[in-house]
């Protein structure tokens, strides 16, 4: 250690300029190959027969039904999972109770279980041959091969995203601010709305955006429970697969490009919000 000068700053990197440039180029090359190239490939395949053909392929009844179905499922699943995620993170981080470790494991379950297995479990539970499913079909409200099943499968797969994003933030913040609000006379609900929620809003936003992206893109579990009925229970990812298997590559890639575009819009939205509220972010994150 004697060769380190006692005073003055040490440079953060000691590699020569050449090595630095080489490393940076390597990273850029990897990013291009793994992230940008596939995206460009999807869009160029979609536009292979021109923009008109791409847009037309999205205009037929089945394609429109798939888009509406995916947006509907997302619109139901994401707010519900946001609410459940907040509730779970709140319980885990602000209270002590028996079985907390078990609950945390349970929240992670969808990450470790294969989506296909999750889908099959839902079929076993709610399918026409099961006790509950048989009754529900008799009532005219089937779950499997219908919208409720797709929503349930999507919710199961995307359940951890919001809670996982919130838990570390809420642990770090502790519960002193909530307790302070209580001593100032605020009730539980008011404390949640005026103290807890504003403190977690950025983590919540990230969680919801991740959850949203995953919900729109979910394939495995939904494929099992939806029955892939064209124009009825085929979501966007499932429609993409069916079109691709039928060698309708322009239609398949147009739908894929639209799905990618929806994901990009959410990312852009997040960036815009971050940019818009940069001051606030800095003020609340510094400590």
């Amino acid at each position: 250690m004697s060769d380190i000068p006692a005073q003055g700053f040490r440079r953060a990197t000691e590699e020569t300029k050449g090595v630095q440039v080489l490393l940076i180029l390597g990273v850029v090359a990897c990013m291009t190959l793994l992230l940008f190239a596939p995206l460009i490939a999807v869009f160029s395949a979609a536009l292979a027969d021109g923009a008109v053909a791409a847009v037309q392929s999205l205009g037929n009844a089945d394609a429109r039904s798939a888009i509406v179905l995916t947006l509907t499922v997302t619109a139901i699943a994401v707010p519900l999972n946001a609410a459940f995620g907040i509730a779970a993170a709140w319980a885990i981080t602000k209270f002590e109770f028996r079985g907390k470790a078990f609950l945390i494991t349970l929240i992670d379950l969808p990450f470790s279980v294969s989506p296909v297995v999750a889908g099959l479990c839902l079929v076993l539970l709610f399918g026409a041959n099961s006790l509950i499913g048989g009754w529900l079909v008799a009532q005219g409200n089937p779950i499997i091969f219908a919208l409720p099943g797709i929503v349930l499968a999507t919710m199961f797969i995307t359940f951890p995203f919001v809670a996982r994003e919130l838990i570390p933030v809420m642990i770090e913040q502790g519960k002193a601010e909530e307790e302070a609000a209580l001593t100032l006379g605020a009730g539980g609900w008011r404390v949640f709305l005026t103290v807890t929620l504003p403190n977690i809003r950025w983590a919540l936003l990230y969680g919801v955006l991740l959850c949203n992206a995953r919900a729109m893109g979910e394939f495995g579990a939904v494929a099992v429970v939806s029955g892939k009925i064209r124009g009825q229970t085929a979501t966007m990812p499932i429609t993409i697969e069916m079109l691709y298997n039928e060698y309708l590559s322009v239609a398949a890639f147009s739908m894929a490009a639209l799905l990618a575009l929806l994901a990009l819009v959410t990312l852009a939205l997040k960036t815009a919000l971050e940019w818009r509220y940069a001051d606030q972010l800095a003020a609340t994150h510094r400590h």
Binding site: L182, G185, A186
Partner: protein, 239 residues
């Protein structure tokens, strides 16, 4: 308001944080709960504030049983160890929080809230900082804002958890006098927790020395110093 602690005990699971303790705090006193970490002093303070509830025993405010009174109904001005200011609110909003949280009938009008916040900012001698966020304040300023926020609810007593713990020595000395002044101006019964015997001796009218969930000695600073009751007190105050 005088506070009576009557045979209070507190267990967390199998560990006892407080063995039955009793203590009478006269109205308007400035009391220090003094002891090392793990002595139960913070637990006792939190029980007074309604943030914890005792396993057994009673708390009396002005002779009336307050053991099961909710934290909101206690009207205890509480200053937390690291102040727990609301980080997403300005200093003004922080101080106004308790007034705005009141039920509609008891809530002051907006101009009245502004007037009271301004008055409190004057009291803590920081009249210009209403628009700042907590992160833009020094440690000493944060402590005073936390004090103003606690005072805004017109509390019946003031409870402070290690109010000087996070400050450097110079600011600590200044703010000790600040707390003394505010106590003398408001006349509020004030209880603060500290592990610093010098701070307790210098600031408090009454020192309560605690160890391992028990009260070792209660007395005026000079009496505790002159006549330590137990071996523990003797060693702790000479440290």
């Amino acid at each position: 308001m005088h506070i009576d602690i009557d045979e209070i005990s507190k267990e967390f699971g199998v560990t006892a944080a407080l063995h039955p303790v009793s203590l009478a705090i006269p109205s308007g006193a400035l009391v220090a709960l003094l002891g090392p970490s793990g002595s139960g002093k913070t637990t006792l303070l939190r029980i007074l504030g309604g943030l914890e509830f005792p396993t057994a025993g009673r708390v009396l405010f002005d002779g009336a049983d307050a053991t099961n009174l909710s934290v909101q109904d206690r009207r205890a001005g509480f200053v937390f160890q690291s102040y727990a200011l609301f980080r997403h609110m300005t200093v003004f909003e922080n101080i106004a929080y308790g007034l705005r949280a009141r039920a509609k009938a008891a809530r002051p009008s907006s101009p009245e809230i502004a007037r009271r916040v301004t008055k409190l900012l004057d009291l803590i001698q920081l009249p210009q900082i209403g628009d700042r966020y907590p992160t833009q304040l020094s440690g000493g300023q944060r402590q005073r804002v936390a004090l103003a926020r606690a005072l805004a609810i017109e509390p019946r007593m003031l409870l402070l958890d290690e109010p000087f713990g996070a400050l450097d020595a110079k600011v600590r000395k200044e703010l000790r006098q600040g707390l003394r002044d505010i106590h003398d101006t408001t006349g509020l019964t004030t209880v603060f927790v500290t592990h610093d015997q010098e701070e307790a001796m210098e600031l408090a009218d009454l020192v309560v020395v605690m160890s391992m969930g028990r009260i070792e000695q209660v007395g005026k600073p000079e009496d505790v110093r002159a006549r330590p009751k137990t071996q523990f007190v003797r060693e702790f105050i000479s440290a």
